[in-house]
Symmetry: C4
Subunit: 266 residues, 4 copies
């Protein structure tokens, strides 16, 4: 009897459904808990919230910590049902030192740790990894994998755009360093400083914390600003095509899987 | 005789033309009135205009209020001609508590209300809903519906880009919170505060009210700025394709409807 | 003999070559003079240049004025050769009151006028119209006309994106007026003021002269900033497609014209 | 024996592999050295680094200088093996005054020069040319050449977008000069000054150092900001298409070359 329960727990916590079947109910609950815990972690970094709702945040973190701890324990216990030979202890050790097992443990520690050392709240962002791990199952991860493949097929295109972008950033920074370095040493006084300006201009973000003031600097910067159109155009086309390709293939694969499944039921 | 007039009024005020026939003349006049009343409402929030042209604005609002009131009364009266069984009173009550009826009443109240309480002018923006309601008829709404369908078919693509964007915003904000939180507590002192910076940078708006000042912060922010290209590229491709698809289908549908109509006339 | 010269002058100054043959030599010289005169006019608005090089600028303007005057006189004289019936005086009067004739005269007056009234230098920008007029001939204008046609075919798409953009700008401005109107009356104190912010944010320009400071304002503004991706994506797709279509058709037409011409020569 | 060594050195330093075979091992090492030397040159312009790590930077530059000098000497020596008639001295002189030879020498001088005159560090950016020269060999340069060809085929499209962009920049600048020239003489007091604002706005960079403050100026600037969508859309489409075409052709050519080579081995 106990063995049947362990099998069920194993299937609920570890099963990696194929096609578009999505996560198990337990994993959906775990995912919801992680999402809520990330929101709580984000909010608790805000001093005004931490000051006024400190005890509630602490209680919530404790609750999340217990959920993650219980889940980790359940995984460690039920992983003995994993396929393959070897003793239950061996399988548990193998899980504990796998990437997934370490992420799981890290999340538990990161959640319960702040009770010991309060300043380590940034470490809680490790929950994002947990989210990524959970997304490995189900439809979303298949889509991401197809997009990843489509991007990977275009990696040479992206490398070329990166090389061109790098050359453009370096040339722009050198030109402005040369033109404005002595007039505005704080922002153009070295090529690394001017590179900050070049990146912010070439991505068309344009904060305005570093702006040329001489005529020559403005003429150079005008060409750099126009160059931002080219810098953005090249990867935009590649990435948009890769994304659209990846989603297309994902859709075909899901349809094929559904067709196959329905064929089996007939 | 009175019945024939009511039928005509009903047809003028309620008819939803199919295909590309457009709005009835009365509805075109109502739409023009709404557009003008929106412009007046927008201008009347400006203190300089409100001070110098207060009486003209008041007169214009009163005129709009009367037009909207008359139209609402005419709709309530003529809706008795609506197809289906039931008494005139029942049909009127059904219209009065329908979404369209409530929006109509809200516009009337929002227009005449300021005479009682002057500060409620923001409420006048409810006229935009009235505009959307009117656009339900005619060619424009068909186009919007096709675009809506095309977007809806790509909702999974948009969900994936939203999830990626959310992860990117959260990671960027955490990195800058970690790098600059202590140096600039006002703008990077918590993850929610840093998220404001992350959104403004990743959309390439770049106000410049929150800008990293440390070397590490600038290095992180440079990657975030380059990441903005990816964040913008993915939904841009999806939305542009959805829009172009929707308009294409709309054009085909309009052509088919015209062809059918011309076939009938032969 | 004088008649033959007049014919030659007419052909040089008025001929509108078909296909890709380009401008006549005289018109190329006139175009170069206009381009140079625009550069001079732009530079002469700069106080530092006007102060140090005032006499050179004056001399250049005088030279341009003489060229434009001579050209205008030559056109007025040679237009008597225009095809069609009517006396030379009638044809000259018809030219003098045509759009092209008035632009020509305006350029002459705008160039020589500053000697009388110095502050009217903005008026010199009328030379841009002269440039557009000259571009009516030759290959460039054919390309522009095809692009114009392709844009015109998509005018309904552009109208839909404009309507969506207008609604987005108005809604964004109202939201920020409501959220920040009392905190920052100078920049969000009325919907027209907030619309300036909305346009600058939705086009992702982001000057930073108007930035929300409250939590609610920043939350709204974050969605507006993300909405900028949609606002930019829709017209970008339509315009890029229109431009590419127009250039494609232009290329085909030029090839066809060349093919025809070469066929004639055989 | 010495001749065989010279032949080997020649092949290692000069060989231009066809297809996708990449750089020789020696050239890969040279490329890595150049990349590192560029990073060092960039970092050494930063006063804080130059102050604290002056001697290390000097040592690194000396090492790079020796490497470049040795390579230059080896090239000069081994170029006698170049195909074609003529004495070794003639071939060396031909290499020394070729573009590649001059760039090589310039890099050597630029690296060793700072020991004589310290302020000439900007000149070190000539190493980027050396990088471009090395990239002439191998797969990367083939890709760049195909992209260059694809861009060149669309040069007329780019000329049209440039002409439109120029007209838009000039008109925008004139409008703002006219509207704000007297209110803000420092930033809109002449058309050249207003052109700086126009370029930064039309590329959607938006630093915020020049921002209209009058109602008329803001209305004009709103249209200019919306016009930035068009200005960016046109070249973006052309450049993205050119890049994608160029990479596609490059891929086909590489595949064809590989196929041919494999056919030879069979």
């Amino acid at each position: 009897l106990s063995r049947t329960l362990r099998q069920q727990v194993y299937r609920e916590l570890f099963a990696r459904p194929e096609g578009d079947e999505g996560l198990t109910i337990t994993n959906q609950l775990v995912m919801a808990t992680i999402l809520v815990s990330i929101v709580v972690a984000v909010l608790s970094t805000e001093p005004r919230i931490a000051r006024n709702h400190g005890s509630q945040l602490l209680a919530a973190e404790m609750a999340f910590g217990i959920v993650f701890l219980v889940e980790y324990a359940a995984r460690l216990w039920s992983v003995a049902e994993a396929p393959g030979t070897g003793s239950a202890a061996y399988k548990r050790w193998r899980f504990a030192r796998s990437v997934i097992g370490i992420i799981d443990l890290a999340v538990v520690v990161a959640t319960l740790f702040p009770f010991l050392v309060t300043s380590a709240s940034v470490f809680r962002i490790v929950r994002l990894l947990r989210l990524v791990e959970l997304m490995q199952s189900g439809r979303f991860s298949l889509a991401l994998r197809e997009i990843g493949k489509a991007v990977s097929e275009r990696r040479y295109d992206l490398f070329v755009t990166l090389a061109l972008a790098g050359g453009l950033i370096l040339t722009s920074a050198t030109a402005l360093y040369w033109a404005e370095g002595e007039v505005q040493p704080a922002v153009f006084g070295s090529i690394p400083r001017a590179m900050w300006w070049a990146v912010i201009t070439l991505t068309s973000v344009g904060y305005g914390d570093a702006v040329p003031v001489t005529v020559l600097g403005k003429v150079f910067a005008s060409f750099v600003a126009l160059g931002s159109i080219a810098l953005i155009a090249l990867p935009t086309g590649v990435l948009a095509a890769a994304f659209s390709d990846g989603m297309e293939r994902h859709r075909k694969r899901v349809d094929a899987a559904r067709h196959l499944r329905e064929g089996h039921h007939e």
